[in-house]
Amino acid sequence: MTNLIQPPVKVKLSEIQASQAPMQSSGPNLLKNKYIGGFMKSKWYPGIIQWPTLLIFMMIMFELLLGPSAAHDNFGTALTWVLWWPIIPILFLFLGRFWCAICPFATINDLVQKFAGNNRPVPKFLKKYGIWIIDALFIFITWSDHVWGIVENPVGSGILLMTLTTGVVASGAFFERRTFCRYVCFLGGLSGNYARNGMLELRGTPEICATCTVAACYKGTDKAQACPLFEFPKTMTSSANCNICGSCAKNCPNDSIQLTLRPPSKELWFIRKPKLEEAFLSAVIMGIVFVQNVTMLKAWPPMLTWLENAVGTTSYYVTFSIAFLISMLIPISLLGLTSLVAQKFNGETLLQNFTRFGYALIVLDMAGHMAHNLFHLLAEGKSVIFTGLAFFGQGVGHGLSTALMDPGMIQLLQFGLVGLGFAGSLYTAYRIAKANYAPEKLWGTFVPYAVLMVVLGFINVWMFVLPMAMRM
């Protein structure tokens, strides 16, 4: 199943400039390693990981929808929200968007496409508004998780997964390649943003690609499918839409593809064409981390009661929506306010500053996200074992602690992560300022964003100081 060959796609090579950036990593090409390169270029990759993942996904789906109705007894819930969800940002950091190469939804997309695919071009509105759609979906799913209890309710989790399945079935049935993954999937949007901060970078070799007229990486050959996420390594300057599937490496007749390691956040220092929707998404992710943390605090019920009294209704839809909106608005408005100050020093507009420096938040986003999920992974981790044993008919676990680690140690790790994220965001803001402004404007631009990072870092630390309740 590795050769899901796509029909040829017209590529106007005249439009493609050999624009490999100065930020290209110069580390050793991992594809030259006989083990890594051999594996990635073999017909077994990524199928050998993809198919078992699909089987596990099917098991999870059945367990969620047909298994125990209580989340704390459901193996599917534990695997999804205690194991997979906390691990996924760690994967993004070390392996970029690799998860998308083995994602079961993508596999279903490819399967449906192979047998029923119409391979129509991506609708223009998706190309134009894709990230905004992802932004909206991400916000909606987070909101609905809280008001309808997706995580706490196995059937709710099942509905979410089945909705995504239907999305990829529709996409695979009618549209080319992985349209859904690139333009609609909320996790794809998240992983795209995080992959920019990731440590893996796949690019074409500029000197080789400059003379290439085949574009086999983009079009596909009988060796492997075309790039499923519509990337063209010749002009790629970002890892946001590279899932390290290895297709380009298999297809390239000139052995141009390089896979290198890079320091985290390096790509963010030189974003050539920053996009407002991507910067907005990074602020939204920060807001989502705030929401997830706030609603787990033991101080949340009193806050909710206060809100109920303030607005005069006990409707959770209303009170949570207000709290949600406030949490979202905090990072967005703080970024906006900082951009307003920065524009006085660098002469660019508020929107230009917002767009450019929004990317600097990604590092802290990722750290906050990982720190939050660390709590689930380490404080509830044994629930995976207990529910797993129960799934196989072994009734142990009731009454036993689910913690893998002492709460104090977890908190220490959380502070460490947020500290690293803060430092990373601070440095990224500095590098963005340095790369885009003359020396006399550098500090005037950087200092307001440094203050912003301090404020956001402080909010993150403060939330991890407060006692938290478990959700599972």
Binding site: M1, L54, M58, M61, F62, L64, L65, L66, P68, S69, A70, A71, H72, D73, L111, V112, K114, F115, A116, G117, N118, H146, V147, G149, E152, P154, V155, G158, I159, M162, T163, T165, T166, V169, A170, A173, F174, T295, M296, W300, P301, T314, Y316, A379, E380, S383, F386, G395, G397, H398, G399, L400, S401, T402, A403, P407, A469, M470, R471, M472
Partner: protein, 243 residues
């Protein structure tokens, strides 16, 4: 060889899609035998009535309390909670730590002095006569601190029942979050004395999951079928043009 691989892949896809629909047949088990249960404690006859068979989710219940002379008791305070039978069994002797498997969002257990001879079925030992807010172990109705609690639920998942239409009748809504064996515990206070009555229940497995699965499966099949039809149409148009 390629055609064979194609057929194998097609077969696998069919099995994959079919397997999504199969478990529908492995659905709900029995459920409660009836909607009405009666227990006697200290001479009081307590009858629990479910308006509909107990199921996962919100359940409207009525509790009728009568004294030894079968006269309705109208001046009682009633609270109910739902306890997972298995968790109850395990937690009889120990205080629950934060983050245990049974009710991972940590409901602290209250284990204190006994109420001598107060309860016909003393499943958990309750606090002293004053401060009777017996903190139940592993409340099923309070899975998370984030979910909305219906009116009448307190912080610990206890639901206070209100007086019903008839004398000695009390009613309210109780949330059951798990299927399988459960215990509905009635905390009955008459003339300052607290009694607990346990009603073992077997809650039927919800059909919601199977309905969701089959609905999505049907939509997916329709989408694939539509795509196949449209694909064939486009091929036939091309052929006619060529001809």
């Amino acid at each position: 060889m390629k055609r064979f691989a194609h057929k194998v892949a097609l077969l696998f896809t069919s099995i994959l899609l079919l397997s999504l629909a199969l478990p529908i047949s492995a659905l709900a088990d029995g459920g409660t035998g009836g909607n009405e249960f009666t227990q006697t404690v200290n001479g009081y006859q307590v009858t629990l009535i479910f308006e509909k068979p107990a199921s996962v989710g919100e359940n409207q219940i009525h509790v009728v309390v009568k004294d030894g002379q079968s006269m309705p008791v109208s001046q009682a305070d009633l609270e109910v909670s739902v306890v997972e039978a298995q968790a109850e069994h395990v937690e009889a002797q120990t205080t629950v730590e934060t983050g245990t498997m049974s009710g991972m969002d940590a409901q602290p257990t209250a284990v204190a002095g006994t109420m001598s001879g107060m309860s016909a079925q003393p499943t958990t030992e309750v606090g002293t006569m004053s401060g009777m807010s017996a903190q139940p172990t592993a409340e099923i109705g309070t899975m998370t601190s984030t979910s909305e609690q219906p009116t009448g639920h307190d912080q610990m998942g206890m639901v206070a029942l209100t007086a019903g239409h008839e004398s000695g009748e009390y009613e309210g809504q109780v949330s059951i979050e798990s299927d399988g064996d459960q215990i509905l515990r009635v905390h009955l206070t008459v003339a300052g004395k607290l009694m607990e009555v346990d009603f073992p229940l077997h809650v039927a497995k919800s059909k919601t999951g199977a309905i969701v699965l089959s609905s999505f499966f049907a939509v997916d099949i329709v989408l694939i079928a539509a795509a196949v039809v449209m694909k064939r149409k486009s091929v036939s148009v091309d052929l006619s043009k060529k001809a």
